[in-house]
C-alpha cells in the first residue's frame, strides 16, 4: 500500500513538473511588439535547453522527490495491523429472553467476537507508540495503549513500557487471540485475569543469547474494567522465562491486594490477591506436534457484597494442557483440557458456584491463506460434585488478519 502511495506520488510529481515548467512558455506567446517582430525570424526552431536549465529541472525534481520521500518515510514508521473474528456460537445455557442478566441471556447468535485495529508508530528503535482498540457490536474498548522505551546500550535491550498492557504472567495471557487455537482462553485465566490487561509500568528484557527473558510490572491491580484504582496499594507481577531448544519454561508471580466492598462495611476491606504460576511450551519430536501447559494457584478475593464476617481470600488453582497437531501448512487439530477450582482449600460454602470445573475441548482450524482461517470448536464442561449443568459450547469462527 505504501509502495503504491509512493509510486503514485512520484508519478504525479513527474507529471506535474513538466506542466509547471511549461507555464512560463505561455508568457512567451503574448503578441510580440513591432520591433521584436522585425527582429524575429519567421520560422523559429525551439532553443536547446542549456545545461543550467537541465540542472535546474533535475534539482527541482530531486527536491520534490526528497519531500515525497520524507512523507513516505514518515508513513513507513506507522504500522497498521489487526484482525476481525466473525462467529456463530451455540451455547447450551442459552434461553429465549428479552432482558435479564448476561448469564441467562440467549447466546446462540452470530457476532463479531473481536475487531482489533492496532496502530504502531516507531520513529526509532528506542521508542514505540502502540494503541489497539477493540471494535465490536458491543462497542469500542481500549485493549492496548502504551509507550515503550528501549535502551540501546546493553545486549538485553531493557524496555520500559508504560500504559495499558497485558499482565506479564504466564503464557496464555500474552498469546494473541488471533493465534490461539481455541476460541477463548482457559477458564483459570479468564477468571483470575479478566481482560488480560492492567495499567501500570513494566520492565522487560531478553538476553544471554536470547535464552532468558524477564518481565516485571507494577500495576493498579484492577484490570481494565474499571477506569480507576480503588486502593492506594499497587500490585507487583512478573515472569521469568528460559528457552532450552524445543522447551520453553516460565515461572510467574503476582502479589497484590484488592479492596472489596463487603457487607456491611461500606468503605471496603483489602483482601490478598496472589498468584503463582509455571508454564511450558514444548516442540515434540513428532513432526508438527506441540504441547503446552500452565499451572496456576493463589488466593482470590471474595466477590463484592460478601458477608464481612465470613469473607476471605479463597485458595484457588487451575491448569490447562494443549495438544496441537499440524498437518501440512493448512490444517491444525487441537485438544485442550483445562481445570479451575475456585475453592481448592474447601473454605467456601459447598455451592455449585464454588465447584471445580473441568473442560475438554477440541478444535479444527483450516488456514485458508496467509490472512484468513476458519475454526470449528466444541467444548464440554463438567462440574464436580453437582449435577452437570448443560453448558457445552459450539463455535464456528472465521478470522481475517492483516
Amino acid at each position: 500500500m505504501k509502495r503504491v502511495v509512493a509510486i503514485t506520488c512520484v508519478t504525479l510529481t513527474l507529471i506535474a513538473l513538466p506542466l509547471f515548467a511549461d507555464e512560463p512558455a505561455k508568457t512567451d506567446q503574448t503578441p510580440p511588439t513591432a520591433t521584436e517582430e522585425q527582429q524575429t525570424p519567421v520560422e523559429q526552431t525551439p532553443a536547446e535547453p542549456t545545461t543550467e536549465e537541465v540542472a535546474g529541472k533535475v534539482d527541482s525534481l530531486t527536491e520534490a522527490f526528497t519531500e515525497m520521500k520524507n512523507v513516505v518515510d514518515g508513513l513507513n514508521r506507522m504500522k497498521l495491523s489487526g484482525y476481525i473474528q466473525a462467529q456463530y456460537v451455540n451455547d447450551e445455557t442459552s434461553v429465549n429472553s428479552l432482558s435479564g442478566p448476561t448469564a441467562t441471556r440467549n447466546k446462540d447468535q452470530f457476532s463479531i467476537r473481536r475487531g482489533r485495529v492496532k496502530f504502531t508508530y516507531q520513529f526509532a528503535p528506542t521508542s514505540r507508540f502502540v494503541i489497539q482498540p477493540d471494535i465490536t457490536t458491543s462497542g469500542v474498548v481500549l485493549k492496548d495503549g502504551y509507550v515503550e522505551f528501549t535502551e540501546p546500550w546493553t545486549p538485553w535491550h531493557h524496555t520500559l513500557t508504560a500504559g495499558q498492557f497485558n499482565w506479564p504472567f504466564g503464557f496464555e495471557i500474552g498469546y494473541s487471540s488471533s493465534d490461539r487455537e481455541m476460541p477463548e482462553r482457559s477458564r483459570v485465566i479468564r477468571t483470575l485475569f479478566p481482560g488480560e490487561r492492567d495499567r501500570g509500568i513494566q520492565f522487560s528484557g531478553l538476553g544471554m543469547a536470547d535464552r532468558f527473558n524477564y518481565k516485571v510490572g507494577v500495576v493498579n491491580g484492577t484490570g481494565t474494567a474499571q477506569s480507576f484504582d480503588f486502593n492506594k496499594r499497587k500490585d507487583i507481577v512478573g515472569r521469568v522465562g528460559g528457552s532450552f531448544g524445543p522447551l520453553d519454561l516460565g515461572v510467574s508471580l503476582y502479589r497484590g491486594a484488592e479492596l472489596v466492598s463487603v457487607a456491611p462495611a461500606a468503605a471496603g476491606r483489602e483482601f490478598d490477591k496472589e498468584r503463582e504460576g509455571i508454564d511450558f511450551q514444548y516442540v515434540t519430536p513428532v513432526p508438527g506436534l506441540g504441547v503446552r501447559g500452565e499451572f496456576i494457584r493463589g488466593k482470590q478475593p471474595p466477590a463484592t457484597g460478601a458477608a464481612a464476617a465470613s469473607a476471605l481470600s479463597a485458595d484457588v488453582e487451575g491448569y490447562y494442557f494443549y495438544l496441537i497437531q499440524n498437518l501440512g501448512t493448512q490444517h491444525q487439530f487441537v485438544v485442550r483440557y483445562d481445570s479451575y477450582d475456585p475453592d481448592s482449600g474447601n473454605d467456601l460454602p459447598n455451592v455449585i458456584g464454588n465447584a471445580k470445573v473441568g473442560t475438554l475441548g477440541g478444535s479444527y482450524i483450516f488456514h485458508w491463506d496467509a490472512n484468513s482461517k476458519v475454526m470449528v470448536a466444541y467444548e464440554k464442561s463438567k462440574t464436580s460434585g453437582f449435577t452437570d449443568p448443560d453448558d457445552n459450547i459450539f463455535t464456528l469462527r472465521y478470522q481475517y488478519k492483516f
Binding site: 520521500k69 518515510d73 493465534d179 536470547d210 516442540v283 506441540g290 499440524n326 501448512t329 493448512q330 496467509a370
Partner: protein, 274 residues
C-alpha cells in the same frame, strides 16, 4: 455408475497431477535472489519435472512467509531471529531448519573516483551512525559523505546494523534503497556516495578495503579472505524451512550444495560453503 466412476477417476487424476505439479517456492532475501534464481534454473534443467519458484522481498518478508505458511523455503541473508523462531514454534510446532547455502563478504562500495582506499570497522560505524560526515575525516577529499542503505526489511540492513554499527541506529541522513543493485547504482553515480551490499553486485563501483581496527591489515572480500576470516564482514546466506527438507525441496537444496551448485554460487559472486 460408469459415468460417476469416470468422473471420479478424472477428478482424482487432476488432483494428483495438480499435487505433483505443485512448485517449491523460495521467497526472501534480495541479496540472494539472483543466486537462487540461477540455482533454480540449473536445477530445473537437470530435473524437468521439478518446479522451483524464486522471489525476493527481503529476508524478513521471506521468513514471515515461512511463518504464515505461504512459502516452502525462506531465503535469508541473516540468521533467523528468536522472535521468528517463537512464531514458528507457536504456529507449526517447529523451530525451523536453517541450511547455509553460500557465504558472502559484505562489501563496502564507494564511487570509482573516490580516493579513499580503506576504512576500519570503527570508521564505518562512525560514518553510518552520522558521527563522521565528511570524506576528509577519513582521508578523502573535502566533500560530504552521502549514505546509501537498505530498507529495514532487508537482512543485509540487519546484518550491517548488528555487526558493523553494533546495534546502533543508522544516521537519519542515510537514504534507504530497495535492493543492493539500487545501492550500487546510486553509488556509481554519486562521487560522494558510500553503500554496502553483497559483493556479487559490485559493478561500476569501487570496493573499499575493510580492516578490523587501525592496527589490522585491510582486505577486500575474496574467497581466501572470507574463508580465512580475515575479511571482517562476512556472513552465511541461509535457506530456512519449517522442517527437514523432503521431496523436490530436498533435491534442490542437496543439489545446490554439490560442487556443481556451489560452482554457480561462485559464478554469481558469492563464496562456496563446501
Amino acid at each position: 455408475m460408469k459415468k460417476t466412476l469416470t468422473a471420479l477417476l478424472v477428478s482424482a487424476s487432476v488432483a494428483v497431477s495438480a499435487f505433483a505439479a505443485k512448485p517449491v517456492t523460495v521467497k526472501g532475501s534480495d541479496t540472494m535472489v539472483i543466486m537462487n534464481a540461477k540455482l533454480a534454473e540449473a536445477f530445473m534443467n537437470r530435473n524437468p519435472g521439478a518446479q522451483i519458484q524464486v522471489t525476493g522481498g527481503g529476508s524478513g518478508v521471506g521468513l514471515a512467509a515461512l511463518i504464515n505458511g505461504t512459502t516452502d523455503i525462506a531465503a535469508s541473508s541473516r540468521p533467523i531471529k528468536t522472535s521468528e523462531i517463537d512464531k514458528l514454534k507457536a504456529r507449526f510446532a517447529t523451530r525451523g531448519v536453517g541450511i547455509p547455502i553460500a557465504r558472502d563478504g559484505l562489501a563496502v562500495y564507494v564511487n570509482s573516483v573516490n580516493p579513499v582506499q580503506e576504512l576500519s570497522l570503527q570508521q564505518l560505524m562512525d560514518i553510518y551512525t552520522g558521527r563522521l560526515t565528511n570524506w576528509k575525516q577519513v582521508g578523502g577529499k573535502d566533500a560530504p559523505i552521502i549514505l546509501y542503505s537498505r530498507e529495514n526489511s532487508s537482512g543485509t540492513y540487519t546484518y550491517f546494523k548488528d555487526n558493523v554499527l553494533k546495534g546502533k541506529d543508522y544516521s537519519p541522513r542515510a537514504q534507504t534503497l530497495q535492493g543492493t543493485a539500487a545501492v550500487v547504482n546510486a553509488v556509481s553515480k554519486d562521487p560522494n556516495g558510500i553503500g554496502y551490499g553483497g559483493a556479487a553486485y559490485a559493478k561500476g563501483v569501487k570496493f573499499v578495503k575493510v580492516k578490523k581496527d587501525d592496527k589490522s591489515q585491510a582486505y577486500t572480500p575474496s574467497l581466501e579472505t572470507v574463508r580465512s576470516g580475515e575479511y571482517p564482514i562476512s556472513r552465511y546466506l541461509f535457506l530456512y524451512l519449517r522442517a527437514n527438507p523432503s521431496g523436490d525441496a530436498k533435491k534442490f537444496i542437496d543439489w545446490s550444495l554439490t560442487p556443481e551448485g556451489q560452482d554457480i554460487v561462485t559464478k554469481v559472486g558469492y563464496f562456496p560453503v563446501k
